[in-house]
Symmetry: C2
């Protein structure tokens, strides 16, 4: 925290009154001062050409520096760094399941730097290669750094722009919250989601560009452009007011962000419902040895379930085509099929409400977080009962789909993990009185929870970023 400058220091408003309005100006500015949106694809192609990589599947024994531990079968790096693939057993009163899980204890920073140009806030975004992305290069936050990087900041870090987030001279904080990542694949992984504003000169390095929020919002409509790390940070921005009257849906969305517009349930009731969901969840979670996973098998090239469902662990070699840049190899988690993450939405008295689901995921640090109405890979349920509301989402015609794009999950750990992200208006088959574990809340209520960690899961955060892109 910055110095209080002795007792003569003047006080400041607890909430910065200008930030929402300044973000609104940025969101309404579709022509940035640095890179026109129509040249964005060309710029990305140039960055791609500068760092051409190839990702090739390999057997586990060709992983460089990685090996299975002789006793536990856990897959780890010789340095003890990066992450390990271990086993997890999740016991609930009516079921037990086992799965591999990624254990990456370090808290990282996902940070976006913002700065005013010509009176408009611009966001410093990076073209970043991640081996699991189907198109390799996507738009990422200014900084994606692990704590090891973070700690080196005083000895001169190799991570560009890190000093604005972790150093003594860092900028003004707009948002900074420890958020979870995929609870199905990560064991208690969290990252600091940060947005920081600076006023001084900022050098512009290759692979980086300044974009307005309006430009980023346009890119959010495209498939596989804005990466997961960028989406989760964008979701943590303060809500940006709008007075849209483009259509009934957008008007209801604008009111849903407005804290004075009311809601079906008071925030005290929403918090109470959440406390109830969390306190009712009986979970016994145990990290176990990877070799000891009932229902899973290991071959030279994969660790997978005997019934073929959910995901497999594979290995890949990341090869650079120039001599300047080194390649590496690593394990990756690969889901089976395209995922769906959808919020079902409905207007009540002119205010849009989202149907959130209190989800249990084995890797959550605290058992339950709020997820989308539907979050699954439909392929896994081809011969069993569908999760609630999946059929309604899949059956939705285009007139009810208010947002749709395919986005990739964390490309540094997951291979071709793509999901169709949807905002779907509810039809009459979706009840006003939802089943246990589901609740109607406004976008503003979710946004208030997003100031704190462990309330809103990463898929729901992507959907909030998608909703925020609609004005």
């Amino acid at each position: 925290m910055t110095s209080t400058q002795a007792r003569t220091a003047s006080l400041r408003p607890r909430e910065d009154p200008d930030i929402p309005a300044r973000l609104a100006v940025s969101a309404d500015t579709l022509h940035g001062t640095h890179l026109p949106t129509e040249q964005f694809s060309v710029w990305m192609k140039e960055r791609e050409a500068a760092h051409a990589f190839e990702v090739v599947p390999i057997p586990f024994d060709q992983l460089n520096g990685w090996s299975f531990h002789p006793q536990t079968g856990n897959l780890g790096h010789v340095s003890g760094k990066f992450f390990t693939v271990e086993g997890l057993r999740v016991r609930q009163p009516k079921q037990v399941w086992h799965q591999p899980i990624i254990n990456q204890a370090e808290v990282g920073i996902l940070g976006i730097l913002v700065k005013e140009f010509d009176g408009v806030l611009h966001f410093l975004m990076q073209a970043k290669m991640e081996p699991g992305n189907p198109n390799l290069l996507q738009l990422s936050p200014t900084v994606q750094a692990t704590r090891s990087n973070y700690m080196r900041v005083h000895q001169g870090s190799s991570v560009r722009y890190l000093e604005y987030f972790a150093g003594a001279e860092r900028g003004r904080v707009v948002a900074d919250v420890l958020q979870s990542e995929h609870g199905a694949w990560f064991y208690r992984k969290r990252n600091r989601n940060m947005v920081v504003e600076v006023t001084g000169d900022v050098p512009l390095h290759d692979d980086f560009c300044w974009l307005t929020l309006g430009q980023i919002n346009e890119l959010m409509a495209r498939d596989n452009v804005v990466n997961m790390d960028a989406r989760t940070v964008l979701a943590c921005l303060p809500q940006v007011p709008s007075s849209s009257s483009k259509d009934g849906f957008r008007s209801a969305l604008a009111l849903s962000r407005d804290q004075d517009a009311g809601a079906l349930h008071t925030t005290a009731e929403v918090l109470s419902w959440f406390s109830w969901q969390r306190s009712e969840t009986e979970l016994d979670i145990q990290r176990i040895a990877l070799y000891d996973l009932p229902g899973w098998y290991r071959t030279d090239t994969e660790i997978a379930r005997e019934d073929g469902r959910f995901f497999k662990v594979v290995a890949a070699d990341v090869r650079a085509d120039s001599r300047e840049v080194k390649g590496w190899s690593q394990p990756l988690f690969q889901p089976h099929g395209l995922g769906i993450a959808a919020f079902v939405a409905r207007e009540y008295c002119g205010v849009l409400h989202l149907l959130v689901h209190a989800r249990v995921e084995g890797g959550f640090a605290d058992a339950v977080e709020l997820g989308p109405t539907v979050q699954c890979v439909p392929w896994n349920y081809r011969s069993s009962d569908s999760p609630p509301f999946l059929d309604q989402v899949l059956a939705a015609g285009s007139s009810r789909i208010r947002y749709e794009a395919i986005h990739s999950e964390e490309g540094g750990r997951f291979l071709e993990a793509e999901s169709r992200y949807l905002i779907v208006e509810a039809d009459h088959t979706v009840p006003d009185d939802p089943p246990d574990g589901y609740a109607w809340v406004t976008v503003g209520q979710l946004a208030d929870l997003l100031r704190h960690g462990q309330y809103v899961n990463v898929q729901a955060r992507t959907l909030i970023a998608c909703l925020n892109s609609l004005r």
Copy 2:
């Protein structure tokens, strides 16, 4: 959550606009309609006479139903219920410590029922015996129930008033948040802290009384009257506005509650500092066998540290003196000496700020929570360096002490665990620019965090309840 009553349902304000003002009326009402404060002690003595108990130290082998596990040495009950005493190893980069810890996995409910009488909110409080309290009987919430009780609610619970908190007919939620308990002695224990308002008739059972917030606030000034469970629930009430001009301190306190009055740091900065503290804390916490605790020994009557510091585990027999009520026996944790929990406070530009400390406690579910400026048992530091600010607090003259009372910690688990709770105005030796791990925040900023779990520890919550009692 209550039914949405179809799409015709009207919306409600997200925040109930009336509750703070109605709480203020209750806080300003010093004469309740049911039990005058001057008769409170008489009433408590009557309740004490109705349930006279005696607590007698016994050796472990006289515990009824409790035994040390032959392999682990863990102390547990034959039923598998209640709690176990296990070992804990806490590793930090520069130190390792070992200690016994209470493992009580169940989430309980601590709930206070409120209801209007003659237009004034009254709180239903219970005279409850807990074996560890020095005076046995203290004032507790309406309900202190474990989840096992909670689940039985539909089959007719034996816990009085539980249906108002957990049943389908429960009242209107004023507050409901999962809060931690003592991280030094409990492994990840949490309880739902609830305040619920009802309007219908409520039967008044023996051992219960209706008090206004003003009456409770007066009782908060007395030693060992309001128990820990009541104090933590009271701390979770919405902040009650006041426009006190009794003295400069109370004026500054009133402004400290006012969200429009400003603060040294924006809430975004406070949250960022907290994220930083939590993400920087490297902790490796492992539950281990109780027999295997380096530096601890076990005799027939106690498990204690070889150097005599901190606390010991003992056993007690709780004997009823009437044939109607059964006694029981149980282990208890007994600290060595009177604790101190103090907020150092200072006015900046007319607004009171508290110096909070980001504390690491081994039993916290999430490594760090905000605690008082000073929280320790001074006796433990008689031959070593004092914790920061302890000397300043101990040296404070009466002119700087704005609140002082002795309160007991959880009497159901801790034996004679008393602490002096203090609000002390800072003198010149307390820096405006605090050391790492400390920050100046307003009471309102802490209160906002109290709507969410795992931000503010139980000792700091008691101090917030103490501050709230000053008007």
